[in-house]
Amino acid sequence: MSSAIIWILFPLALSVITLFLRKWEKIVTIITIIVTIGLAWLAWQAPMGELFRVGTFTITLEESYNFLGRRLELQATDAPALVFIYLGVAFWLGGSLVAKVRRIFVSAGLAVSALLTAAIAVEPFLYAALIIELVVFICVGLLAEPGKQIAPGALRFLTLQTLGLPFILFAGWLLAGVESSPEDSVRIVQASLMLAFGFALLLAIFPFHTWIPMLAEDAHPYTVAFVLYLLPIEIILLGIGFLDQYSWLRDQIEVSRLIQVAGVLMVVTGGLFAIFQNHLGRILGFAVILEIGVTLLAVGAVTKQQADFSMLSITFTQFLPRGLELGVWSLSLVVLNGYLEGNVDGLRFRNIQGAARRFPIASLCLVIAQLSLVGFPLLAGFPAHRELWLGLASVSPLIAITAMLGYIGMLFVTLRTMAVLVMGPTETGWQISENWSQISLLALGGLGIVLIGIFPQFFLPLLSTMTELFPNLGL
């Protein structure tokens, strides 16, 4: 049996089936969570490309599978990525039980995880860009409210992502030419420009970042967080794939500089724009922009000097805390949003003043998630953020200080959020208004953030091995 059937086609088929069964939302969600956890466990345990026994059966998981004329290759080195994707999706599906998202969330989540796996597996890897576009279509469907006009943010998201796709494909075509004639400098410049422009659009690099805060303001917080978590990670993996595939690309100092400039722009945009926001959803959007920026800075360091390969490992270890942070943050927003039902202004500061007295658990978890995202000690984001800042300091002090400034901006808005939540016009006593399912999920998420922050050694090593996806970068 081919591994692609297990981790790509099976979940894809299941997503279609669950679409028809969405009437029984809770049962379908629970079954899907069990299946995705099972797939993650299988990816962890099953030796790809080798024989393994299940009871009396002996199965060989073949690494390669031909599909529509393309190869889908899943090897043992992909196992950490598969574990990450399926556990991540299981986590997000778990949260959807209380997040009151659309019923198609389960099907869409499963399809997205299958497609993300396909994007990692497809050869030639350039086709990953097409698969990512498919993911974008699914996400837009998920973000749109049935019976309502599509929100401007979602429309802009679709436009900019679709605009980016031809640039990537065209760059791929040019890069194939560069491989055969490396001395063709004109083609190299053309290919680099195409790639840069394509990724600027896909990764929402300033000034193409606007769809992120717009989306975060308009759409359901939990769905937005899901999209903003998985999509940038996949696009960054695609970008690193380019660097891994083409040695001339990672050896050019200009490429490294360009990535770092983009990173600095994102960090500054994310951190400093966030300071002036009054909407908790938009702040989440700018936090994602900040995180994309820092990831770019780390990737830029890898291409400049091979000695900084550890920066990539650290970047990958950030994926787990980031997922938890965004999940807990958005779930808290869902709870607070329920409190504001009927208020057209939504999650603006003036509407949530003093909300902590009625929703202490949601408010506490919101602040924990925000603090973790800025790298506050004791919380999940701290170990990786600190190492990233120190790593960046070794590469360039200026970049490290800029990155810190971005985070200080985000810290400032976190403290503002905290002040708004605890200071209200009426001085009522504390009361817990969240229901039990909300309390248990939020508490679980908040506790997870604290535990990872104190004991990262139990949670993060697996993710650091995701660097094995890019064997050439370490050489």
């Binding site: 600027a200 650290i314 600190r386 190492e387 200080i401 905290m418 002040a419």
Partner: protein, 536 residues
């Protein structure tokens, strides 16, 4: 002796074991109290539980002082090639002194609470124990990561306790401002690490170097509220003496330990000089306000500001011993007065003994403090002499004020309550002889200047008493004006205006980029950016 036999002549193992016991006993007592209250809400032995945890911690820390220094590896973050920082405790003279002071303070608070049955309850004791344990983690931290974790835990615990107890929004705002400045201190510590790394070094408390030292001092100053000078909130939490004292003093101790360590890296730079001047102003302002405060609890924030400013001043001049002496005085001398709610002629000498922490008397901790009066001389040293005299006068004034009586209390209270004060004094004694050994002796290169400074200090005290007796006082309007200037409200209002202007600018840009023609505007902006980068 018994312990030495039990550890088979391995002093480091013994030290580490006692260190762990001190921390665990406090945490365990606090957690047990919470659990017991959940299972049996009417449990009547909470105080006993709290007292046993605190006594164990204090007693365990005593033998640690005999085998210094010692290191204890707690947790290693893996993979080690990515996460370079293990969580390590280190007991040396500085950390042990602060540790014993903290443990003594917590024990003193719990013991003296027997007189304040109305004010203190099990939650206050559990809070004090937990804060004490976190304080121990901070003072024994061997590296920046351990310290950052401890600071963060202390700040989070303090924030939760205060928000829980304070219902007024206006005071909550001040709690958040105070928390913000503490968090700012944590990020300055991270910045210090970054600065060290840019020079190819790893930040290590044992070898702090020039520019990094400045960042560390700034981090401490920010956390202590000295620079920029800020008195967090004058309205104290409802539990004023008991948990209130722990809440005020534990974060102070956790920052002072780093301050004392940075004294070794003090260099004469312009940045340092500015810090020095600011610390003198903070010390003077704090001491004047302390001397004029209504009572010791109202004056508590000013006491802290003033004494830690002198500790900062000492550290900036490179005098670690003086910095340690003032740091310990802020906790123990101050703590002793803050927990002494009862006034009785038999108890008066006990509380008065706390003055030895700030009085320039040889063979006392106060003598280690005046070691800072050494060359190079400047006008700022004179200001510190005045500050010290005001602190002494303020202490005596608050001590002499009437308080709760001890009439009608049960006999056992008569034993336990003074025991709480004696424990603090005993701990102070042990710290003086084991931690401040060099400083308290009547020796040293600058003995004469020290004696002169001591005499001057006493002289100033006499002048203040004379002025006070003649009925002179600073007009209220003047005091208010000084407070307004030093509270930096005017600066914060200015910054708020700048913030509003920038917000309008960003909102305009956002409006353009997120509007209907946003994508076109983005393309224009991109071209502009590219043109700019090409020129660069």
């Amino acid at each position: 002796m018994l312990a030495a036999v039990a550890f088979n002549g391995c002093p480091e193992l013994m030290t580490n074991t006692f260190l762990l016991i001190s921390f665990i006993s406090m945490v365990a007592a606090a957690i047990t109290m919470v659990l017991v209250r959940i299972i049996r809400p009417k449990f009547g032995y909470s105080w006993l539980l709290a007292a046993s945890g605190a006594i164990t911690a204090w007693l365990s820390l005593l033998p640690v002082g005999r085998n210094l220094p010692s290191k204890l590896n707690l947790i290693v973050w893996e993979p080690t090639e990515l996460f370079s920082a293990p969580i390590v405790f280190m007991a040396d003279q500085v950390s042990w002194s602060y540790g014993l002071a903290l443990a003594g303070l917590v024990l003193g608070v719990i013991f003296t609470d027997v007189l304040r049955a109305v004010e203190a309850d099990w939650s206050a004791w559990a809070g004090s124990l937990m804060l004490g344990a976190l304080g121990l983690t901070a003072v024994f931290a061997d590296n920046p990561v351990t310290l950052m974790l401890a600071w963060a835990a202390i700040d989070a615990a303090e924030l939760m306790i205060l928000l829980w107890h304070i219902p007024q929004s206006s005071i909550r705002e001040k709690v958040i401002v105070s928390f913000s400045s503490r968090v700012g201190g944590i990020f300055l510590l991270i910045l210090a690490e970054i600065v060290a790394r840019t020079g190819g070094n790893r930040l290590d408390f044992a070898t702090i170097q020039g520019p990094v030292g400045n960042f560390l001092v700034l981090a401490c100053a920010l956390r202590l509220g000295v620079i920029p000078l800020h008195i967090p909130f004058l309205q104290e939490p409802p539990i004023r003496r008991s948990l209130g004292t722990t809440i005020r003093l534990v974060p102070v101790a956790s920052s002072l330990v780093l301050l004392t360590r940075t004294a070794s890296a003090a260099t004469a730079t312009s940045g340092n000089y500015i810090l020095l001047v600011l610390s003198v102003f903070a010390a003077l302002f704090g001491s004047i306000s302390w001397a004029l405060a209504k009572d010791e609890l109202d004056g508590r924030p000013y006491w802290i500001i003033s004494v830690v400013s002198i500790a900062l001043f000492s550290a900036l001049r490179g005098d670690g011993t003086a910095s340690l002496a003032w740091g310990i005085a802020s906790i123990l001398t101050g703590g002793l007065l803050f927990i002494s709610s009862a006034r009785h002629r038999y108890l008066f000498p006990l509380t008065a003994l706390g003055l030895l922490g700030i009085l320039p008397v040889p063979l006392t901790p106060g003598w280690a403090g005046i070691k800072l009066y050494a060359p190079p001389y400047s006008v700022w040293l004179g200001a510190i002499v005045v500050t010290q005299s005001l602190l002494i006068i303020g202490y005596i004034r608050h001590l002499a004020q009437p308080g709760e009586g001890l009439v009608g209390v049960e006999r056992w209270v008569w034993v336990i309550y003074p025991a709480g004060l004696i424990i603090i004094l005993a701990g102070y004694g042990v710290i003086t002889w084991w931690g401040l050994t060099e400083g308290v002796l009547l020796t040293g290169l600058y003995l004469i200047p020290n004696i002169v400074a001591g005499i001057l200090c006493i002289g100033f005290c006499g002048i203040w008493v004379y002025i006070y007796r003649r009925g002179f006082s600073i007009p209220d309007r003047m005091v208010e004006l000084i407070r307004k200037v030093f509270s930096l409200g005017w600066l914060y209002r200015f910054l708020w205006e700048v913030f509003q202007t920038l917000r309008r600018l960003v909102n305009t840009l956002t409006f353009v980029l997120e509007g209907q023609g946003g994508i076109l505007w983005a393309l224009v902006l991109l071209l502009l950016l590219l043109a700019l980068l090409q020129q660069g």
